[in-house]
Symmetry: D2
Subunit: 323 residues, 4 copies
């Protein structure tokens, strides 16, 4: 192996730059040339590929977003698109790829390998933490801390006005951000897609909090919550508990940005180094994750098809901590 | 004057606690007893009034929200409500009031003085900065910095995905937060209620930015913008510029909370001291504001009826800085 | 078991309040009365013990420091001191203790059990992360992120002036904070007590960085570094590399304070709940730690005598990432 | 005027990048070519000068430090050095300069004008706020907020352990940072170079705080304090008040870095635009400052020779607020 390329794909996540830096430096450390592909598969098709040196990734470890940019690419889902991409890969004599992204990204990489034999090792870059094969995904800890910081601010005003706040956090299919920011934020309730909720239970909990003379409450609602988003849940609760002063806030895209936390920079760096080392050892179609503090390579097929379990220990704490 | 009371009223704002602390300590410094009234006029009516000592306000200068809480109070708008409030004020032998809030608060205080002769000096506590008689209101600088921090985070993701973001900030009748966070955040456009906008101008600006090969853009929309909120403006722009990837984020209540900035703590402290000194000098129905770094007492009637001008110097910079 | 008490002891750490909250609420959840002992063993001796209710710990999860305060206590090391402490414990009919602190705290608790039969379950509260029996101690993640934030700020000015900065972080016997903040901060070198360093190696690394046209560099030095503190190391390097513009910053006590990160709030909450549940199950002289995401109770004797290994994976990344 | 150049000189300050951006964009807006000189006068002499476009300054408004770097330059103090510099200026056909820095920078610019007729308009870039001719210098508000954030963190631990902390902040000849961060941080005492202090007064104040049963205290010491730095003052106090648990922290270079606050970005932008407009109006040897919210051009000779007064209103609040 002589030349490798790195790219980011799917939704951006804080820590992607730390991972890019680690890939570039590990590549150089092991004697490889490292290329950066701009805008993921789109740049692979259009040939937006540039050589990266050690100094190209200086002073980026602390930056949110991704210097290589990210984009959706429908064209890569077609045979023609992938043929063009291979053309560019061949032109730059690239022998291996590091893909920083999620399951959509890994699916593309797997097909690309089957067709053209270019091996890819992945690194899990998504704030949602919903990838099987790793305890933490890159960006998750930062997103949780950003949500928490917002919850802390909202608690100030909730408390000053004796209000109930419904706060919607990211996580379309996954309650990870909701659960951790909810526990960390001292929320009364956390509503997540993985666990059936009923409006009745929500109402009951808020009513008993009121009864216990709590003057303010926070309810965290994950984007993908099945009985509705934060606005809709709040609306339903208002019908029953008109004595509560209820407000809604949707945190939105602030959760995607910002300087990564220490944890995100560290796991991103470890995964970046491990991805390069994996390629050098001949690995392909695997994701470099961290389980119990150790690097584990999990086949793409597992990250794509298997469901990561929620931490039961957090779930069971909710009724204890809100007492 | 022997006994004074302090209360917060209207929307809470970061720095209110620093102001309460300054009122309490200045009162004690000048030999007064200082009472705190909980939940503004509502607590005045219900008699939720407690004596505050120096240590009651220890370690609160850095906290968001208000330890005295705030609430709307319809009852104080009635003659009967104010009679009950006066009963409580008389019972505690309170000779003067410090009201931290906005124009609604000051209106109530003025009527209360006319009916019962209890003098009030106000301090401007509102994140919107829309009070005549002061360069800065308590909480404004913090709200702007909170909005800015969110804009910085969103720029990370906007830039990574080449997107246009419409970000809605607080300010129902006022573009102060929008203007300062927009200039500070490097926004292409800032849409504020004080200045007529047209969708055409917005579209034109974004189109020419695209033409100048800007890959991402930020548009700040104040809550009270006349041609619609951020969602509605974004919707209209999407019709015309379908090639842009447009997203919307509404920052919401995070702008009300958080630890106050240095500037907010300092002006809140100055205004709190000045409010007590104003009462001692026999002032009434005035707000202690800061203009050109000096304490100025402005009659409530002026803060209520006069309109504060926007800083033209900021407005005129927008087309220069987005070039 | 009917009555338990919780206290914090040793150096304070962010997240201690989240742990206190969890102990109080878990205690109440399981039908116990929960007392708080102020200033650790000192308050146990003097009888500064108060009943805590659910609302006593409202709105503290986000606060640094410890609402129960902490203090050194020489008297508890004497038989007479412990006799007085037992007097107070008996007076309040306390059946079990939760001690949040480090090895000094646990040693005292073990002796107290041997003499008076009062069981203690510990929770690891120290920013240094040097306790055997847990992957993370309470406060460690916050301290690392605080150090990292400072390193990021210093990198701005280092880069603007092409300087080399030696930054001293906390960790008298332990390089955990140094290693994680160094990796996260993109440091060239990390000097820790666990691994022998030589001035020659430091000079060599900085010289080769200069050679590779790096214009600025960061060196992290742990407090307990054997060849000297940051000032002394910098002094020695200056003798050899007079062409470098070298500065020194000692981060100091800022690393102990601040609002805890999500991770610290979550592990502190889990450990607090686990400590109460441990007591109820009859456990004693053990610390509730988290290893591989699961609660593990480790005997005090092991936390005190065994040495926690450094994560080799981080150490070996340093030469790769600085290339 | 057709070509202008901008540079940063002296100690770096957060907001310098926002000012550079404003200079570049205002220059382009008014039809000029704008050059950036790297490392201040050193780059002027060596010819490290590059053309800047609008996109060269994209996405830098939020960054600390200066993308143009800064350096001391002894050579420019010599006639020969300035002759070389002029050679480069002539070669690039530069007609005017914008210098972002302090009095050292402005002195150089004035001499350069007298010798070669190249006009300079300055912008006040220094965290110390000690420049006559402007209410705020670029970087000052950020430095104060950074110091304040550190003080807040230290207060957590001071309070948990009932300690007295002496915190040294920047300001060699100026107490501005000390005074504002001290008021904002709720300090008992602020020691600044502009006002004579005595150890006796410090001891007296701390003793009476102890008497008033304050359990923890913060004393802010400006770098340039005449009776000694924080360590030395603390040492003297310890002799007299051995019952206090006294600690010292020196904040150091973290005060120079970090993302600029809203205020710093806004004044930096205004001053940058004003500097370019000043050049276009034929101004020279003046600094574009902001006094009472308006742009004022002050002759270099005044910024250099006149002393800016401290805000008396802040000084007189200290004994009131610590009661």
């Amino acid at each position: 192996m002589k030349n490798i390329a790195v790219f980011t794909s799917g939704g951006d996540a804080p820590g992607m730059n730390a991972c890019i830096r680690a890939v570039v430096r590990a590549g150089i450390y092991y004697g490889l040339n490292v290329y950066g592909i701009v805008r993921g598969y789109a740049g692979m098709i259009s040939g937006d590929i540039r050589k990266l040196e050690s100094h190209s990734v200086s002073n980026i470890i602390q930056r949110g977003g991704t210097i290589l940019k990210s984009a959706r690419c429908e064209e890569f889902k077609t045979k023609e698109g992938r043929a063009k991409a291979y053309e560019q890969i061949r032109k730059h004599e690239i022998d291996g790829l590091v893909a920083i992204g999620g399951n959509g990204t890994f699916t593309g990489a797997q097909i690309f390998y089957e067709e053209y034999g270019i091996p890819t090792v992945g690194a899990p870059g998504t704030i949602d933490n919903d990838l099987y094969g790793t305890d933490y995904t890159i960006g998750f800890d930062t997103a949780v801390n950003t949500a928490l910081d917002a919850i802390d601010k909202i608690r100030d005003t909730a408390d000053s006005h004796d209000r109930v706040f419904f706060i919607e956090v990211m996580g379309r299919d996954s309650g990870y951000i909701a659960l951790r920011s909810g526990i960390g934020g001292g929320a009364e309730l956390v509503m997540i897609p993985e666990r059936p909720n009923s409006i009745e239970r929500v109402i009951e909990t808020l009513r008993s909090g009121k009864f216990n003379s709590k003057t303010s409450s926070i309810v965290i609602v994950a984007e993908g919550e099945q009985i509705g988003n934060a606005n809709s849940v709040a609306h339903q609760v208002r019908q029953e508990l008109s004595e509560l002063d209820i407000r809604v806030t949707t945190l939105g895209h602030i959760q995607r940005g910002g300087s990564p936390t220490a944890l995100d920079r560290i796991i991103a760096s470890r995964m970046g180094v491990a991805a390069v080392e994996g390629l050098l050892e001949g690995k392909k179609n695997v994701m470099a994750g961290i389980i119990n503090n150790e690097i584990i390579y999990t086949p793409f097929i597992d990250t794509i098809t298997k469901k990561k379990p929620l931490l039961q220990d957090l779930l069971r704490m909710l009724p204890i901590l809100r007492i």
